[in-house]
């Protein structure tokens, strides 16, 4: 079972926080296939957030094929999320790029700003993506 921590000042939509924390739990193995997510009532009793927000987050997770709602029983994990492989070629390319950026005299914040702007250009504004 996961427990959600909602940060109301983070600027991240509440349902997105639930989606992200669920995925995080899937990546860390805190949630495994067949596990049950807390009911909307359980979540709102603990967090005082809106029940429709919880349902919206669960619908999003369901749309992504990560969980399934079983009528009258609850919402269950369908598959877990593997971690992004640490030795993928993509990572190696990024490593090399970061080394070049550093050699060129860029500071961490410069790299961060660059990377974020490139991310924004190639990916839709972060909606449910974690």
């Amino acid at each position: 079972m996961v427990e959600y921590r909602i940060d109301r000042r983070s600027g991240v939509a509440t349902y997105v926080q639930i989606v992200q924390q669920t995925k995080q739990a899937l990546r860390l193995g805190l949630l495994e296939e067949g596990d049950k997510l807390p009911t909307a009532r359980e979540v709102v009793e603990a967090t005082a957030i809106n029940p429709n927000t919880v349902l919206k987050a669960y619908r999003e997770l369901e749309r992504e094929g990560l969980v399934e709602a079983r009528r009258g029983l609850g919402t269950f994990v369908r598959r877990s999320l593997g971690t992004a492989p640490a030795d993928s070629p993509l990572r190696a390319e990024l490593e090399a790029w970061a080394a070049r950026a550093r050699a060129a005299g860029l500071e961490r914040d410069d790299v961060d700003a660059l990377f974020t702007s490139v991310l924004d250009a190639h990916f839709a504004q972060s909606k449910g993506d974690a």
Binding site: I6, T14, R41, V44, E45, T47, P51, N52, T53
Partner: protein, 295 residues
């Protein structure tokens, strides 16, 4: 169950011999099952609107329907907690709840109020007059929820509660909404208090509707733009724009792509509301919720 909790059409209400207009030309629809934040500055008409929905006031113009009927006909299915939480000071808490049961014989569910009272560590034998403001709020909410309303109208419900009580009561309200699909409308001028708990927004200003609709849709319809001063914001609808040195900050309703070289952010609820309050001349935005409700 009707799928519309409140529907207002050109609703207006004036007071006194001078016909001071507290509400004017308000049109919106609140689908059932929503938790709606009713906000706006002092004197915006929030309490008047709630009293009209509760059937305690009659409109002087236009109309308001509640749960598909007139407010008077829907009275049994709604509960209203006024800002000053009127309770009988001489009654005990237990006596107050008995009164609630006797006045609502067909709908009363004693478990909910008993749990709310127990959660607040209140002695059922205590008299209302001996309670603090926050404790009275707790009793008033217990009374309102015991009736099992389909629509719950709360005027500044959290104003005199400490943070723990606020969290507990908000959680109780949300759990009730999760269990029964209760529609909740709560007013507050403290916007941050409502963020996270509400999925619908009704912003009033000067007696008129400034923003109405599903909260996510309203937020998605606005973008915070940071650019260089002198940038043109056409053809977008500008709610508010400010220039500081070379920097331009604006809240806009985009009418298309916002162009290169600008930073764009999603506004928070507070930023959305404050920008509209600072710019009373910005055009209102009422989003149709028909499709949302059907989805």
């Amino acid at each position: 169950m009707t799928d519309t909790a409140i529907e207002a059409a050109a609703l207006g209400r004036s007071f006194g011999r001078r016909r001071r207009q507290a509400l004017e030309g308000c049109s919106f629809r609140l689908p059932a099952g929503r938790v709606c934040a009713l906000t706006g500055p002092n004197g915006a008409g929030k309490s008047t609107l709630l009293a009209l929905a509760a059937g305690l006031l009659r409109p002087t113009e236009g109309s308001i329907a509640v749960l598909g009927r007139t407010p008077a006909a829907a009275r049994e299915r709604l509960a209203y907690v006024a800002q000053n939480k009127p309770l009988h000071p001489q009654l005990t808490i237990a006596g107050t709840l008995r009164l609630g049961r006797d006045l609502n014989p067909r709908r009363w569910d004693a478990r909910v109020p008993e749990r709310i009272i127990a959660e607040g560590d209140l002695d059922p034998g205590a008299r209302i007059r001996s309670l603090s403001g926050g404790q009275r709020t707790r009793v008033a909410l217990a009374l309102a929820l015991g009736k099992r309303p389909e629509l719950l109208l709360l005027d500044e419900p959290m104003a005199d509660l400490d943070p723990l009580a606020r969290h507990q009561l908000m959680a109780t309200l949300m759990a009730d909404a999760a269990d029964h699909g209760t529609t909740v409308v709560m007013s507050s001028h403290v916007v941050a208090e409502l963020e996270g708990s509400c999925d619908h927004l009704l912003l009033l200003g000067g007696g008129r509707v400034r923003l109405a609709g599903p909260l996510d849709d309203l937020l998605a319809a606005h973008t915070l733009v940071t650019g260089r001063s002198g940038d043109t914001l056409e053809p977008h609808t500008v709610v508010e724009s400010r220039t500081t040195g070379r920097q331009l900050t604006a809240l806009v309703r985009p009418a298309g792509p916002l162009g290169e070289g600008r930073r764009t952010d999603r506004p928070s609820l507070e930023e959305l509301v404050l920008a509209h309050l600072r710019s009373p001349e910005a055009p209102p935005l009422v989003l149709d919720t028909e499709q949302e409700a059907a989805a």
